[in-house]
Symmetry: C2
Subunit: 102 residues, 2 copies
């Protein structure tokens, strides 16, 4: 199944939906959904990453992410779509939900 | 206990020792020990990160790292020493050992 790149207005719509509750917000940077998650400490940050990693593996859709201590900078894109797709919206929603566990 | 920043010749010595067996090599970039680890897939890359994370937490010395799929880019520095310290040499050695598990 081909994964479709989201159009500009679909990305705006997705960002509005993602950012309606959570803070800080998802943004688009380098054509990727981007968000910086901050936790209390490394243990929580890596706990969050572990939840995301297991979900990502299950969905076969993986984040690009940078971690230093309590901070996790996430970027989401879909290589086969050459841009952001619904897969990234779905993963972003799950990440927000996981972050709320801490 | 104060953590001492390594002198230039100590860093060279540490890099020689770290790179005597492993490939690819550790280098110094932005005053940080830097290495890119590549694995077969995401599951292995994150398995490696998990081993490192537990060690880092135990030693209370954490990496800066970026992951995308099978690739893990690691940078090691010691904030309280404002540079590379023996803690980074030790963590680098452990990471090399963990990487060999995959």
């Amino acid at each position: 199944m081909t994964v479709k790149k989201l159009e500009s207005h679909e990305i705006d719509q997705a960002l509005n939906q993602l950012n309606s509750s959570a803070s800080p917000s998802w943004t688009i940077e380098d054509d990727k959904f981007t968000k910086t998650f901050k936790f209390k400490n490394f243990k929580q940050a890596f706990g969050f990453m572990t939840m995301c990693a297991m979900q990502a593996e299950q969905d076969d859709h993986h984040p690009e992410w940078f971690n230093v201590y309590n901070k996790v900078v996430v970027q989401l894109t879909t290589h086969e779509a050459s841009g952001v797709s619904q897969k990234d919206v779905d993963l972003a929603q799950k990440m927000d939900a996981f972050a709320q566990c801490f």
